[in-house]
Symmetry: none
Subunit: 533 residues, 2 copies
């Protein structure tokens, strides 16, 4: 619990890129992160180089409590970012140090705490049912207690803009209560998301002039202006911006981290990420969509697959001559690509780079690189996605470079039978016929679903022959149905995350049949383990 | 070819809500309107009450030529809107009246023509390869020819903002060429979509002051600011706004008609639609998504299904007391609805509210409410999630209130066999045994995956007995693997979205076996359809 400032960004602590995907973003309908998901999200955000990662609300949500506990035990080593715990001020009539929820914030051991406080008099009086003086005491007591305990504290002033319009004095008193008690940043929240940029910028400028406090901004997208409002607030003097990955959040969502960052970097020239960070925006956006199990928005600004795709025949030839006349920025700046039917890996340069990262040298083998680019493009057009499946990509690249394909086994056939019997019981049984170390092996096993049964049968068949097999376990399994309107006859993409206790790796399989797609990913997982030993 | 002004809107011709879904919106990857589609889109836009409908580019696109021909023959009777043909100025070195493309614009017989002209000197010199004087002549010749022929003309100044920043004089000369020749509105286009609201508003204000022309605005969404930029331009003096339905368009898309209109009506108090038009925004948005064959964006501002959905159980009771404290506008204003999401954190208040929304009155049945709350909590702890599955929740609530369970069929058993044969082929086959209308029916079918096969077998068994079955189709199918670290032995949650062409409804199934989970959701979908008739 030492560093409370972002590390490695040119702007240092002068500007805060603050992510709340794991707390406010998780309010989006349909998102439900496991603790492993949360750790993976935090690692990706740190790779990108955001300054602060709000991990959740310890004490209020059991998964969040566990997340902070595992982070504190060393499962989350952050290079750039600082971990933040979110919570509310003490209850009315209590003391901060005796408040259970406030204690839970301390127990989370995050170096920074963001406290939410009501700043709209109507909410204070009607929802909180206290007077303004008590509301301010709740803020100052809690802030000063946490500061005494060694935490850096930010204050989220909930419903600030509506509150300021209704009763500016109350709204400012809440900010003062926080700042005077030691809160480092007071964050103006457009909680209901009803603001427009010109008016919001005016308010931010006014509040800055009246208080001199360090201001943050938190916008919701109910007017479709969350990104615009966030950027306008920065232009008006805010130096701390709260966003979520891909704008995930309640109702219409939050300000999209990638849109906001793209604008700050490309339009305002602010170095809010470490060197090289901006070029990771597209990759990280897609990986975070994968973890949230939400199809990436192909038309998302800056990072969408279509963000720089040109359909207008009108422009086609002119684009070739002078691409920058038809793009608002160079797509490479944010790690994106101009081609129509863009894929993340489509370019030679990025595939070569990725190969180097995976230990496959493609630089000296232009033909292998060409054929790998072609193959990746073809597979991605069929629905494969290697963004979150490095292990499968590595196997593909090794095959293209002519390295021997050392599959530890080959399949003859499998059969899976699912029975929903008349007594209501549901049974899954799988039989595999495989060849391993010169032997033909048949094994049958049951499982609580078709993929589980198949995995069990495969293990039963192979484990006498492959000594390392027992150490490998399936850590996570994700299914994504591709193509919008075709129901159960659509293509299925399966991601399998495996672990041997030391390392974790992810493989992918795509097929119209979910069981076959799973089989492909399961096999890659074992082949990859065999390769690495 | 008489009326050139919008009819029936309080603002009349003083403000133009201009839609270009059929031309610029059709640039979106994946959209391909038939002529019948185009007519249907135009009718819906007219029902909503937009002032101008740009129908396409006659002469350049055969379907557009046909659309205008059929519209002129009386297939499109517009109540509010005026039809607009889009095209470009004459070619360099030609005369307007001899230019084939310009003649095609006349032949389209639309009362208004919007001409696109380059206003960025770099584009004029490098793409058009003429000098600025000739570019201006192309504009003034074409505008004055069309005006002489009785057309009202608007001028789209392409790449205006980039051009103005690079060489303001050239950009202004192009505007002048158009306005002096008789163009009624000069439209400032952010063609590359690189603008931010504060700067864009400043430019609009400046151009208005320097020229006094009637100004329009056309924004692309490459900075995720198209809606914000459009609204900022109106605040800065533009009185003509070009949008597309749901923001469809090239790259990141255009300014969303529904977001822009929502803001103009709800935030700026401008009566840009006929009386009652705003309340049609949600319906028309969804209908236009249907025609475009694109799933509606559930998180779209104002009109998305989740735009007013609240998840935080924390607030549920407060929301019931004072909904406007938690919504930026009354959702009814735009024809939307406040939805309460049932989640783990939910209590009696939100379930009662949800029941009312679904037409199940729990207020007078405290015992049924108690047992429903208990059941929902238990199921959600097991991994069920009703927040996106209203139809399943409705069935559950009806059961708790003692309404008869009128399942149209019962299951005896099913069996699914999946074969990956030694020749590599993968086969899925399902057999169901069901009881329907006193009969025991057995049916077998194949599919390209286990769920598809099961769905096919069930339909085969039931369709002779249930006349409505053929109208029901699976519109979407989602799979979520629950629980973090347990791999393939985890619980699976399946969401099935069904449609009968008029209504859509979503059901949920949870089970360790993905096929059984799918079965549960499929059955709920049919039972719900049977209930509603």
């Amino acid at each position: 619990m030492t560093r409370t400032e972002p590390a490695g960004t040119p702007l240092g602590d002068d500007f805060h890129l603050y992510d709340t995907t794991l707390r406010d973003g998780a309010q989006r309908e349909g998102i439900s992160y496991s603790v492993a998901d949360k750790l993976a999200v935090a690692r990706l955000l740190d790779e990108l180089g955001v300054g602060f990662i709000e991990g959740g609300w310890p004490g209020a949500m059991p998964k969040d409590t566990e997340f902070f506990a595992r982070a504190a035990k060393g499962e989350l080593a952050l290079k750039h970012a600082v971990l933040v715990a979110f919570g509310s001020t003490r209850k009315a009539g209590n003391s901060a140090e005796k408040d259970e929820q406030v204690r839970a914030l301390l127990d989370a051991q995050a170096p920074v705490v963001t406290l939410v406080a009501k700043s709209d008099r109507r909410h204070i009086e009607r929802a909180l049912r206290v007077d303004v003086a008590e509301a301010c005491d709740m803020v100052s007591d809690t802030v000063s207690f946490l500061v005494r305990e060694g935490r850096r504290v930010f204050l989220d002033a909930e419903h600030f803009f509506d509150g300021y319009a209704y009763d500016a004095d109350t709204a400012l008193r809440v900010l003062e209560a926080g700042a005077n008690a030691g809160a480092d940043v007071v964050v103006l929240c457009d909680t209901n998301g009803g603001q427009l940029p010109l008016g919001l910028a005016e308010t931010v400028r006014e509040v800055k002039a009246r208080t001199g406090f360090r201001l943050g901004i938190h916008c919701q997208d109910d007017t479709a202006c969350a990104v615009a409002n966030s950027v306008a607030a920065v232009q008006a003097g805010a130096t701390h911006v709260q966003c979520t990955a891909n704008g995930y959040g309640e109702r219409a969502g939050n300000a999209d981290l990638f849109g906001v960052t793209g604008n700050l970097v490309a339009k305002l020239g602010m170095e809010v990420l470490p060197t090289g960070g901006a070029a990771e925006l597209t990759r990280v956006s897609h990986a975070l969509a994968e973890i949230a199990n939400i199809a990436p928005d192909t038309h998302q600004a800056y990072v969408g697959a279509s963000a720089f795709a040109h359909k207008a025949g009108l422009h086609a030839s002119a684009i070739k001559v002078d691409p920058l006349l038809y793009n608002h920025i160079d797509p490479a700046l944010v790690g994106n690509d101009m081609r129509v039917l863009v894929t993340e890996m489509a370019g030679r340069a990025s595939l070569e780079l990725k190969g180097r990262e995976l230990g496959v040298d493609l630089a000296g083998q232009p033909e292998a690189l060409t054929s790998a680019v072609k193959k990746v493009k073809r597979l991605e057009a069929e629905g494969w996605s290697f963004e979150a499946a490095d292990a499968s990509l590595e196997l593909l690249l090794r095959k293209e470079t002519g390295e021997e394909d050392e599959a530890p086994f080959t399949l003859e056939s499998y059969r899976v039978v699912l029975d929903h019997r008349s007594d209501g019981e549901v049974i899954s049984e799988a039989t595999v016929k495989v060849h391993v170390k010169g032997e033909r092996v048949i094994a049958t096993a049951e499982g609580n679903g078709p993929v589980h049964a198949l995995d069990a049968a495969l293990r039963k068949a192979l484990s006498p022959y492959l000594s390392w097999l027992d150490s490998v376990e399936l850590a996570d399994y994700k299914v994504r149905i591709l193509a919008g309107r075709s129901g159960t006859d659509a293509t299925t993409r399966v991601l399998v995350e495996s672990s041997d206790g030391e390392n974790e790796w992810t493989t992918v399989g795509v097929h119209p049949n979910i069981v076959e797609a799973s089989w492909l990913a399961l096999c890659d997982a074992l082949i990859h383990k065999n390769l690495r030993g």
